[in-house]
Amino acid sequence: MRVRATVAEIRHVLAHVTDPEIPVLTIEDLGILRDITIDGSTITVTITPTYSGCPAMAEIRADITAVLFERGWEDVVVEQVLSPAWTTEWMTDAGREKLVQYGIAPPRRTGPVDVLLGGLTCPQCRSRDTEELSRFSSTSCKSMWRCRTCREPFDHFKDH
């Protein structure tokens, strides 16, 4: 059993924990990894849910414990905080780029520019001639869209 750790080491290990529904995104990309503290041999990892009922949280919690356990850190506490509420503003630029590569339109940065421009960019053909089909999709965090240019449907990670 390893007891000594630094926050940087733990953060490096947790960089491999991904969202089970969108496996290209790590918990750090998503912005749900809020804090890591070490007190003696106890490592406390604090995460925040994206949506209230997100079923991925249980799996992410288990993955965090497992990945640290594999490396010899057994005394791990995963805490969940609700406040401040998660927002897609916390998603990293790297995370946004990975989503595009994966075929999901990333959340827009909030601000007057996006409001003016309206439509989303199609992750397949980059056309801006797109329309929302449904505010709800396969997971809480996504909505369903269609591109009028290439006719492909795509998911959008909702601005939240």
């Binding site: 849910p49 949506y51 209230s52 009922g53 905080v81 609700l82 406040s83 509420a85 709800f136």
Partner: protein, 246 residues
């Protein structure tokens, strides 16, 4: 603790509405609606879990004990949450009535002196905004649609309407929690609610139901006939297999 009772009321509202909505799985008029209603149900379930866990922390009970091992008289949800789904129009009427209440409710509670309630509200308010948008677009589409959709949307609204007013009742507990900056002020909620639903009903070419009947009793555990059947379905697995988990 008063705040535990208040959290349980809010949690029961979310739990029971989530249970009702989830019965639309594979039964909605189109696939997108299956997905939408189930997403909304999941949001409610998520909020319910936080609220029930919090309420139970004052009495040494966990969320499962509260959800699955209480009997009918111990549930404190408002009656509107447990109403039968009816047809899609009735469900949309209920969604409009409840979402137009929950948006200002959660908005107000983000400023609650109770840290946990404020945290739950901070997440729920964003989700409730989606729920309201969804309900508003359907009520308008069906109300201002064909003769048949208009008739059924109005019938759904007439059915649900009287139950809305229980949401704005005040009792000693709510008054005490308002005084300490914990609870939301029902009068202000009703004002916001009234302005939303009146605007939507008018745009949907529907009429505000003309009735003074105001059924109530949910907060003190007096429920409608269908509630026992809802609990039987929701609780039977846990009661038949105590401690069952995935």
């Amino acid at each position: 603790m008063s705040v535990a009772v208040y959290a349980l009321r809010l949690g029961d509202d979310c739990l029971i509405l989530g249970q009702r909505l989830s019965a639309w799985a594979a039964r909605a008029p189109e696939l997108e609606e299956d997905v939408a209603l189930l997403n909304i149900a999941l949001d409610h379930l998520g909020a319910a879990r936080s609220l029930l866990t919090y309420a139970g922390s004052f009495t040494g009970q966990d969320e499962d004990q509260l959800a699955f091992l209480r009997d009918e008289r111990e549930f404190t949800n408002a009656l509107v949450m447990e109403l039968d789904n009816g047809d899609f129009g009735t469900t949309m009427a209920r969604q409009l009535v409840v979402s137009a209440y929950q948006v200002p409710l959660w908005e107000a509670l983000t400023a609650s002196q109770d840290e946990l309630l404020a945290g739950v509200a901070g997440k729920a308010v964003k989700e409730a905004t989606y729920h309201l948008d969804h309900a508003v677009s359907w009520v308008i589409r069906l109300g201002d649609g064909t003769e048949e959709s208009h008739r059924r949307m109005q019938a759904g609204l007439d059915m649900v309407w009287p139950y809305a007013f229980e949401l704005f009742e005040t009792d000693g507990l709510v008054a005490e929690l308002i005084a300490s900056g914990i609870a939301a002020e029902p009068v202000a909620l009703q004002r916001a609610w009234d302005s939303t639903v009146t605007r939507v009903i008018s745009e949907a070419t529907l009429s505000v139901p003309d009735t003074d009947w105001r059924p109530t009793g949910g907060r003190s555990g007096k429920h409608t006939e269908g509630f026992g059947y809802l609990l039987a379905e929701m609780q039977h697995l846990h009661r038949s297999h105590p401690g069952a988990s995935w």
